[in-house]
């Protein structure tokens, strides 16, 4: 951490990435799998609908992608701000 401003800018950038990831996290689980399931009922998938697939498969797969995306994006951010290890 060289100075306050850069560490603040780093922290703000980190928070923005977290907000985006959390929004997607909530969308696939609480959204697609539960609350928005009736809206997705028209999209059939293997004897049921897309909402069911998100509830039992899709949300979990999205969670994995989200964590690796966050890890990759933060590594870049750390390097940009010179706070990497």
């Amino acid at each position: 951490m060289s100075d306050r401003t850069s560490s603040n800018a780093y922290w703000q950038a980190n928070l923005r990435i977290i907000y985006i990831c959390i929004a997607i996290w909530a969308l696939v689980s609480y959204g697609f799998a539960i609350l928005l399931r009736p809206l997705l009922a028209g999209i059939p998938i293997g004897g049921t609908d897309l909402g069911f697939w998100f509830a039992q498969q899709g949300s979990i797969l999205t969670f994995i992608v989200l964590i690796f995306f966050y890890a990759w994006r933060m590594n870049r951010l750390d390097a940009e701000y010179g706070v990497d290890e």
Partner: protein, 603 residues
């Protein structure tokens, strides 16, 4: 070779492997004992975390929970995986940067308060001890089922094994045995799943088989299952039947509860760098997802197999196109040997109530309609004749139902033991760390040397194993209910205090302490009001039914509300009291950036 000999060989081999690792990975310092010297790679740690996290409940019970409820219990799948996103984004990297050994230690330093640390220890002990009882009972049950020894003998064998690698190796020994245990448990879970998916759908990936065509009938598998269970008066498998609000809250409670479980959090203290902590959470979820995406396939396919065994017509055509399975077939047919095996354990039971020589399985708790009503009238049914079907049978009897060879059954036995033992070891480490590092070194005897602390850590580990074993031998009657308590407490006390400690500098010690107390107290009281005070039957003040719950929120979901109360109280109290001291604000600044984590802070 008999099944017993096979079980003995496979379980014996897996135990020899764990003991070998225990001898190889002895701990020589407190850094090794508490955090494996921070030398565990992110993939290895991910695998160990997966075994640490997936308990006997995940391995044995979860597929059954989904099998008999269907879509509504997807909450478990999402809740127990989504927590890792929160861990990776909100907690793990910062706590790794902090660079100490236990969760209460962070709470104590960040909130510059010994009281806060002690409250953290109390939460940790309640959560981890309630959790470990279930694991130890699981070890006893699995042993007695597969090795024909008594429950208590099995429990002592399991305890002796955990003693070897946990007391000798601490976190280091536990980490590498957990890696081995993960491999055993995932193999055990996947093999029967692949076979059962091949048999029913011709698709060898269970995750795809679940959404493909049921070969024998030509229908989509899930549509076929829906037809079958609704024909018999059960609720449809893919339909949404329970309260939407409670489903959302329960999923959220499981997610933030998962992120707040101390034995999972401390696994992220073992990696070398902050960036490894982020990546490692991703790997943990990959390894967990290998089981969690297979579980719904195992559950639905095992339910189909079981139900179609009872109504053979359903295999290829309509549910009632052939008569129900006969009592004679159940008692003599070689392919139904598994029913007789599991009858002995009490997990499966039947009774020919109307004496027609057939065993009719249906839902007799609802008013029958359509074809079922006709069948009940024609065949003079007086009630469901498959009187007991335990959830756990969906995984345990799966290899036998699918007619798989004996060595698969033996691997499933070793897998169940691996799941229970790996979680027990992780919990015991969290417990003994809190006792030796937070209570003794941190509070009672701060001046002891590192060598003495290592000895104290080993003694508290041995003591924790003894307590857990004794509790496992005589599990309190409320053992099954305490899972709600463990998750509720982790969600309402530990997760919020850690998150605020990292993200909100303004939260001071008063805010943290009162927030934890308020969150924890409301959650415990809410659970006790519906489940009985200290889970003593009959002392509940309100009936435990959806109508009586506050806004329809079940006691198991209340951790979310407790967390919300924790946040609100912490903000209000902090704003009314002093500013957080400058040096603590500096600490928060420093944990927010990764640089400098390599230099592990030793007190």
């Amino acid at each position: 070779m008999t099944q017993f000999t096979l079980n003995l060989i496979v379980i014996g081999l897996s135990f020899a492997l764990y003991i070998g690792i225990a001898i190889w990975a002895r701990a020589g310092s407190t850094a090794e004992f508490y955090a494996a010297n921070r030398g565990v790679g992110p993939v290895t740690n991910g695998m160990a975390t997966a075994a640490d996290w997936m308990s006997a409940a995940s391995f044995i019970s979860m597929a059954g929970l989904i099998a008999f409820t269907g879509y509504d219990n997807s909450t478990y799948l999402m809740g127990w995986t989504g927590g890792y996103v929160l861990l990776a984004l909100l907690l793990a990297p910062y706590l790794r940067k902090f660079g100490k050994f236990t969760v209460p230690e962070f709470i104590g330093d960040r909130f510059y308060s010994r009281s806060a640390r002690i409250i953290g220890v109390v939460c940790l002990l309640i959560i981890s001890i309630t959790y470990v009882i279930g694991q130890m009972t699981g070890v006893g049950v699995t042993f007695s089922r597969y090795l024909e020894v008594s429950n208590s003998t099995g429990l002592w064998i399991g305890a002796a094994l955990v003693f070897m690698y946990a007391v000798l190796g601490g976190m280091k020994g536990i980490t590498y045995t957990q890696v081995a245990q993960y491999i055993v448990l995932i193999t055990a879970y996947t093999i029967p799943a692949v076979f059962i998916s091949l048999q029913l759908t011709g698709n060898f990936l269970p995750q795809l088989g679940l959404f493909s065509t049921h070969d024998a009938s030509g229908m989509a598998f899930l549509a076929k299952l829906d037809d079958l269970v609704t024909d018999l008066g059960f609720r449809s498998y893919t339909g949404h039947h329970n309260s939407t609000l409670d489903m959302v809250l329960f999923t959220l409670a499981l997610m933030i509860g998962t992120a707040g479980l101390p034995h999972v959090i401390i696994r992220f203290f073992t990696v070398p760098k902050v960036s490894d902590a982020r990546k490692s959470a991703g790997w943990a979820l990959v390894f967990i997802a290998l089981l969690y995406t297979v579980a719904p396939a195992v559950g639905s396919m095992a339910r189909f197999n079981l139900t179609a065994t009872m109504w053979p017509g359903a295999q290829t055509g309509d549910t009632f196109s052939q008569p129900a399975v006969s009592l004679e077939a159940i008692e003599t047919a070689p392919e139904l040997q598994w029913m007789r095996n599991w009858q002995v354990t009490g997990l499966l039971a039947w009774e020919d109530k109307n004496g027609d020589g057939l065993i009719q399985y249906y839902n007799d708790r609802v008013e029958p309609t359509g074809e079922l009503a006709q069948v009940i009238q024609d065949q003079g049914l007086v009630g469901n004749e498959l009187t007991t079907v335990n959830n756990d049978i969906m995984v345990l009897a799966n290899p036998e139902i699918a007619n798989l060879p004996g060595w698969v059954i033996a691997i499933v036995a070793a897998g169940g033991l691996a799941a229970a033992l790996s979680t027990a070891a992780g919990l015991l480490l969290a417990i003994s760390g809190a006792v030796s590092h937070d209570l003794i070194k941190g509070t009672l005897a701060p001046n002891i040397s590192e060598r003495t602390e290592l000895l104290v850590a080993r003694i508290s580990m041995a003591f924790s194993i003894l307590v857990a074993t004794l509790l496992g031998l005589n599990p309190p009657g409320f053992a099954a209910q305490t899972v709600a308590l463990a998750f509720g407490l982790a969600a309402s006390s530990i997760f919020p205090v850690l998150m605020m400690g990292i993200f909100v500098k303004r939260i001071n010690k008063h805010g943290a302490i009162w927030g934890m107390i308020a969150g924890m107290a409301t959650t415990i009281i809410y659970i006790f009001v519906y489940k009985g005070w200290f889970f003593i039957a009959g002392t509940n003040m309100l009936p435990d039914t959806p109508d009586a719950w506050l806004f329809g929120i079940s006691p198991a979901s209340f951790g979310v509300i407790g967390a919300l109360i924790n946040f609100i109280v912490a903000f209000l109290v902090s704003n009314m009291t002093e500013e957080t001291p400058a040096e603590v604000q500096e600490l928060v600044e420093s944990i927010r950036v990764p640089r400098g984590a390599g230099a592990a802070v030793l007190h």
